[in-house]
Assembly symmetry: C2
Homo-oligomer: 356 residues x 2
């Protein structure tokens, strides 16, 4: 592998993970064939759902693994694929919870099933039920097999048990975070900034950053101290990413981020910026705009100006900067190999670049 | 253990499984405590959801295990508890799919959450969303930990891998069966009797009978032939049970079965009886009754009479009898120890008794 070209390295690792997933889905579809065409179709949709991503989480598994001297990249690819399936399971079920039929503008599993059923003459109500049902089932299969793929990596004890413990941590935290997020969207009040940070840590940072890095380190036989430190880096940078993600969700450029900059405002999404703004005089006007489902473009601009004026945007950016710097401090600890530090540094840099 | 008193034996085994689950939930709630009261509450609801059952599946794991000479009943209890968690996961998500808030007349996880939210002033719509969301998350935790409990049983390779393969079979089949069942409830036509039998085998018989028995046998080191034969017994008797369950769902005594005898008729549930009736002249009148959501008591009696007259009830009972006899034939094979045959025989007898 070309360790001197990070882009090429990332692409190579991603395609190793793709190969593992391809094999897994190919086997599953063969197995599904005697059990009905619809079941094969479901597996196909699940496969399609895992394709096209940046393989961010698996690549972190493999970065940490290689960074601690691991050389069985096949095993690392399996562990990486496991985290990709966990990610798939969580977003598929997240869409069930939110009754979303599209993700990033494209029909998700529920949406694909619904459209399929509508094409065959079903009413929208019945088709949506079928779509949601299929997504519940598909998410279950992805979750079950996330665990299974670690077993299928061929890794022996006691590393296997430690990897499964880490995956367990990822699941346990994600469920807690998802529940908090559900409560936010339902409760009438405004959570504290701290509560939102907790939710973002649990719902996303743990399974997206912290545990994939730890898994890679464990697989490579890194020391306890290194695994802990790497996890802390992952946690801090993961939270920083989420904060910035939410800032971009209001202020970002749609072409660059692929997300709209009005969706979160219309939804009234509980973010660090919104929670801060709620404690300022600007809230007297902002509370009419945040969560207004038919917010116009002009009203959105007004909301953005208010969020800047009341200091909410700067507050969030300062917070993210703090987390990114703390993350970099972890990377600087002696138990982290220099080569790995160099490889992970850009992740923190990306965050810092966005807050200048 | 008192092997001469099957009732006492069953109760002892059930309480060993209860003990495993109690420890598991106790640990999980402690772990959940720093992550929020609501998360502890969710785990508590999940625990309550697993209590009070007959522990049928775990007891079959332990019957097969003891029947093949196994004596580490603790390990068997873990494997049994794993199947109980799988069962919990499947029914929790089944209720999400059906948007049911009660099960056997008692609020399920969705229902408990919904009621909790309504008590706190939430609208019914918002409360139901919260309930369904909580159930998606809870089902995920149960499913993930079904797999995990087999690991926590302390069983070594290669038995561990074979047990996980069996659990995989259970999950794979259940997902396929659930999808077929969803399709039935949505598609306008009437499935063939064969398709319904396939659905019942996949959705219920595999994870409720076939794989628990196989898991117990594998754990005890039984031969391949014995594991296969026992699985076939489980499959045949599982299908027989489902057919009879559906007959009782229309003709049974509510006090005995705990289920209403009008629900399935009102729902138009696709059963062997209904599929058969659809091919008879009686369908000309039955089709107005089956699936009528406000079916009266008198109309239900008319439907029952028609189902008897057109031969549908007898057809289903004959079919179930056939499966039960085939199941008994499997039990009679030489690779099944006599003591296990004696222990499992009553399961088949129960089915046959109900069809006399």
């Amino acid at each position: 592998m070309d360790r001197h070209d990070p882009v090429k390295l990332g692409a190579e690792r991603a395609s190793m993970v793709d190969a593992v997933l391809e094999r897994f889905f190919s086997l599953s579809k063969k197995r599904a064939a005697p059990l009905g065409d619809h079941y094969v179709h479901l597996w196909g949709l699940l496969e399609r759902n895992t394709q096209g991503g940046k393989r961010f989480r698996p690549r972190m598994v493999m970065s940490a693994y290689a960074g601690f001297g691991g050389d069985d990249m096949d095993a690392a690819a399996y562990v990486g694929a496991s985290f990709e399936l966990l990610h798939t399971a969580l977003i598929v079920h997240d869409d069930v919870i939110d009754r979303d039929f599209v993700r990033r503008g494209i029909p998700n599993i529920s949406g694909a099933y619904r459209d399929h059923a509508v094409d065959r003459g079903a009413s929208v109500e019945i088709a949506e039920h079928r779509g949601v049902s299929a997504a519940v089932i598909a998410g279950d299969l992805a979750l079950f097999n996330a665990y299974r793929l670690i077993d299928r990596s061929g890794v022996g004890s006691p590393v296997r048990e430690r990897l499964l413990d880490v995956l367990d941590e990822a699941m346990f935290a994600s469920a807690a975070g998802e529940l908090i997020d559900v409560d936010f969207s339902i409760a009438p009040g405004m959570p504290l900034v701290d509560d939102i940070l907790t939710m973002e840590r649990l719902k996303t940072a743990v399974y997206s950053f912290e545990t994939p890095l730890q898994a890679g380190a464990i697989l490579a036989g890194a020391s306890e101290a290194a695994v802990t430190t790497l996890g802390e880096f992952g946690r801090e940078i993961g939270i920083a990413y989420q904060i910035i993600d939410d800032v971009l969700g209001v202020f970002g450029e749609e072409e660059a981020t692929g997300k709209t900059t009005i969706g979160d405002l219309r939804e009234g999404k509980r973010t660090v910026m919104i929670a801060f703004a709620c404690s300022t005089p600007a809230w007297a006007r902002l509370c009419d705009l945040i969560g207004k489902s038919d917010l116009t473009g002009e009203e959105a601009m007004e909301a953005r100006l208010l969020l800047i004026e009341c200091g909410a945007k700067a507050f969030a950016e300062d917070l993210a900067r703090g987390y990114a710097h703390r993350a970099l401090a972890r990377l600087a600890e002696p138990c982290i190999p220099a080569a790995l530090r160099d490889e992970l540094h850009p992740i923190a840099e990306t965050v810092l670049k966005r807050v200048r």
